[in-house]
């Protein structure tokens, strides 16, 4: 948790995949969640492919032919606050940052995101703790 170092990209991405794929709640709610999303910062961009609520592909070196529906982008210090176990207010949840943290950006097809908001909220909540 805390700051995401570029050297540990695959580490946290793999941990996120493993946690998502064994999450009981996503097993219950995620069967129609088929999206491609990214998590990015100033020094990395990782693509995730989700099928039926499971992360089936991770790409930490995306080329032009790797596309996403939507993504989440923020400077390292914002991601660090989002993942801080102390949960500082306004950084404590995805939608709090959407409303109150200008450096945090929900990008791309926001309609697609909204259609999958419940599962994506769960995935990003898991991301806070891996």
């Amino acid at each position: 948790m805390g700051t995401l170092e570029i050297k540990s990209e695959l580490d946290w991405a793999d941990k996120l995949r493993d946690a998502v794929n064994k999450d009981v709640e996503l097993e219950a709610i995620g069967r129609h969640c088929d999206v491609r999303f990214y998590i990015s910062s100033t020094n990395y961009r990782v693509h995730f492919v989700v099928r039926a609520g499971k992360i089936v592909e991770i790409n930490s070196s995306p080329r032009i032919d790797s596309w996403c529906d939507f993504g989440f982008s923020a400077p390292p210090e914002v991601w660090a606050k989002f993942r801080d176990p102390a949960r500082p207010a306004i950084y404590h949840s995805l939608f709090a940052m959407v409303m109150r943290v200008p450096e945090f950006r929900l990008e791309g097809d926001t309609l697609r995101f909204a259609q999958n908001a419940r599962a994506m909220l769960r995935i990003m909540t898991i991301f806070q703790d891996v």
């Binding site: 949960r87 207010a89 404590h92 709090a96 109150r100 926001t110 259609q115 908001a117 909220l121």
Partner: protein, 279 residues
Amino acid sequence: MTSFEPIRGGYVWVTVDGVDYRIYYEEAGSGVPMLCLHTAGADSRQYRHILNDAEITSRFRVVAFDMPYHGRSLPPKNWWLTRYELSLKFYIAVIRAVWAAFEMEQPVVLGCSIGGYIVLPLAHDHAAELRGVIGLESIAKSAGRYNDFLHHGAIHGGEFVASYTFGLNSPFSPEEGPRENWWIYAQGGPGVYSGDTAFGREFDVRDQLKDIDTTKCKVSILSGEYDYSALPEVSKSVADAIPGSRFVFMPKMGHFPINEDYPTFRPYLLAELDYMLAD
């Protein structure tokens, strides 16, 4: 285990601007009347903890009701011909119609979120008729929660609205409270939360605050640390602008103190209820 709660439910018809509304309510206790106002897009189930709290119901007659379109209160006749948008005037008229129907004299009005917003103009306009108001997460001007995705043909409104509001809970609240609130929100009718946030768009009573007469109507404002909609510093500025009001900051609490973490909220509430009862 079988047990009954001491809550009585029922329906009351009220007329507002010539239109009849069938209002669902729940009540418990006896004593000083207290009317409870739920949050945007939700219903009176949020008050189940207060309605079951003997330390409160031994001194207060607590009534919580569902606004029209919410919970078990049906929309009015011909509802399908009008887009639901809550207005300041209508909101106040419904509240006053309900408190009149229950023949409440000098009630305390307790409201959370938009319920906490509306107690401000109530206190301003009707101070002489009220014992006091308790505003939870009160602000005097809209925080801008509206967006078109709240009521959109390509989006599951229940799941989106419930998820959109979920982060307003504190991350430190016991999980069952926020999850229950998620469920209540997910059961809101299409466009109801969206229509309630329309009220927020027009809401601006900042000019009224300095004129609220707290010698007639006591005012308590409480705010949770994790409320990113009605920010604590904004709620405090509301209290600061009302001469004689009280402000209480609740660490590790969110936007829904009445049901996201009632045990933690309870001491704060009891203190303000004692204040309301004091001479």
